[in-house]
């Protein structure tokens, strides 16, 4: 565990594995420290942000962290959320040709794994997923699209993801879902949280 101050009111906790990030996140959520304003997971880090008036409490936390008891892996992950996808994306033929697979096989391999939400970022509710079949790794598009509709499912490098809101983006689009990943009127507003799991299914 490597502790890096990020300014006077935050601590970036760096660990070896994504799973440890999620266990640490769960442990700190459970502690429910009143001076902590944000806990932000990344691929290998957890950012702990303090109330500026009580930032000194970070020092005690830094001292306590190495001895903190972490919950077992995936303790709070629950059942995987199913995301029905219509695999009719504009780039599906391109992805098939890049991977040397036919479109049906791309779909089969995309719906086979259970993915883990590493963290959310880029835009509200945007899940960075791990667990993609390596045979589906394709480069980003040379020219990003200026607008991608909400619900688009895409591929880029070793990542797959869903655009919760319309936004520009460079991912290869293979399909879309009608499931709302982000809804400000819902509590919690994001369908998926860090450490959560999901499966893609073929929409009927």
């Amino acid at each position: 565990m490597n502790l890096r101050p990020a300014g006077e009111r935050a601590l970036l906790v760096e660990v070896e594995e994504l799973e440890t990030v999620h266990r640490l996140h769960a442990a700190l959520r459970r502690l429910d420290l009143p001076w902590v304003t944000e806990l932000v997971p990344g691929y290998r880090t957890l950012l702990v942000v303090a109330d500026p008036e009580r930032a000194g409490a970070l020092d005690q936390l830094a001292a306590d962290l190495p001895g903190l008891k972490l919950p077992p892996a995936r303790a709070g992950a629950g059942v995987p959320v199913e995301i029905p996808v219509s695999y009719d994306g504009e780039d599906l033929p391109e992805v098939a040709s890049l991977t040397g697979l036919d479109a049906d096989e791309v779909v089969r391999r995309h719906t086979a794994p259970t993915y883990t939400v590493a963290f959310l970022g880029f835009s509200p509710g945007f899940p960075y997923l791990v667990g993609l079949d390596p045979s589906l790794e394709v480069p980003r598009r040379d020219t990003p699209r200026t607008s991608i509709p909400a619900g688009s499912v895409g591929l880029a490098g070793d990542q797959t993801g869903i655009y919760p809101t319309a936004s520009p983006g460079g991912w290869q689009l293979i399909g879309h879902t009608d499931v709302a990943l982000f809804d400000p009127g819902r509590d919690p507003p994001a369908l998926l949280g860090p450490g959560g799991r999901l499966r893609f299914t073929v929409a009927s």
């Binding site: 101050p5 300014g7 970036l12």
Partner: protein
């Protein structure tokens, strides 16, 4: 109600932001110069989290449909009430039907207009702020829009002029090294504090984009995306830092060479394109003890 006759260049409703949702990718947003924002609210006797208007460079024209106290703070701007000049940094009484015109800022980049009771648009995820990055919260002001006034008061309007520091033409911002200063060469870390950095015109509420010498990385490693704090000096591959303001994204994939002290962020929020900013490093202890 307040009726918007002209919205100005970019006028938005802002409060202290949306907190506790960064792990879901929801930015904080909120006023980027919280010092000027807080002063405006105090002057009209509002609670500290009441929503006010954040004005960018060119101000709006507003018709106050009911009598109310208002206060204008931040970058210097001429304003008038039915043609009579309105002083800044003090509570001013507006009668029903009067029109408040806020002109173009002469110094700084942003001014704040608080109305007694606060702007009462419906909160979204605990805040009335317009998120200009993720498009959460109310829309920016548009011609013909009507804004309700709330009851978020905490005391009486303040009956004196508040002392306000002048906008510094070449501000020096205090910063704490890291969390990823080790990614950069020693020369790059030195250059950050030795050079003057010019604010570019592509700056916005998300961040102040800075032009200067390219900050070189020691290693060509790809950093894994990680959480970002307000004040981060994030350095993309072109070597030119971006200083994150209140509407920054929650995560980022580029290394942060240093983080600006919270008390100095209003200076960055008021820096117009062309302003030269300088940085100096302070220890974590000094940063925590820092005062404006």
């Amino acid at each position: 109600m307040i009726r918007v006759r002209q919205p100005g260049m970019l006028t938005t409703v802002q409060d202290l932001g949306r907190h506790g949702l960064a792990h879901l990718g929801v930015p904080a947003a909120g006023a980027v110069d919280r010092r000027a924002f807080g002063l405006a609210n105090r002057l009209v006797g509002n609670r500290q989290g009441a929503a006010a208007l954040e004005i960018t460079l060119v101000g709006p024209e507003l018709e106050l449909e009911a009598g109310v106290w208002v206060a204008l703070t931040g970058g210097r701007v001429a304003a008038d009430l039915d043609g009579r000049p309105v002083p800044m940094d003090m509570a001013v009484r507006v009668e029903a039907g009067q029109v408040l015109r806020v002109g173009s800022l002469t110094t700084g980049l942003r001014a704040y207009l608080a109305v007694r009771g606060g702007i009462d648009v419906p909160p979204v995820l605990g805040s009335r702020s317009t998120d200009t990055l993720a498009q959460v919260g109310p829309a920016r002001l548009a011609e013909g829009a009507r804004l309700p006034v709330g009851d978020q008061t905490a005391g009486d309007p303040f009956q004196q002029v508040a002392p306000t520091p002048q906008v510094d033409p070449e501000p020096i911002l205090r910063a704490v090294r890291g969390p990823r200063d080790d990614v950069f060469t020693e020369e790059a870390v030195r250059a950050l504090i030795a050079e003057a950095w010019t604010v570019t015109s592509s700056s916005d509420r998300t961040g102040v984009r800075l032009d200067g010498p390219a900050l070189e990385r020691r290693r060509r490693i790809e950093l894994k995306s990680e959480g970002m704090v307000e004040g981060s000096l994030q350095v993309p591959p072109d070597g030119h830092p971006i200083l994150f303001l209140a509407n920054h994204p929650t995560t980022g994939g580029y290394p942060v060479i240093a983080v600006v002290v919270g008390h100095d962020l209003p200076l960055a929020a008021q820096a117009r394109p062309g302003t030269r900013l300088r940085f100096r490093f302070v220890s974590l202890e000094a940063a925590r003890a820092a005062r404006p």
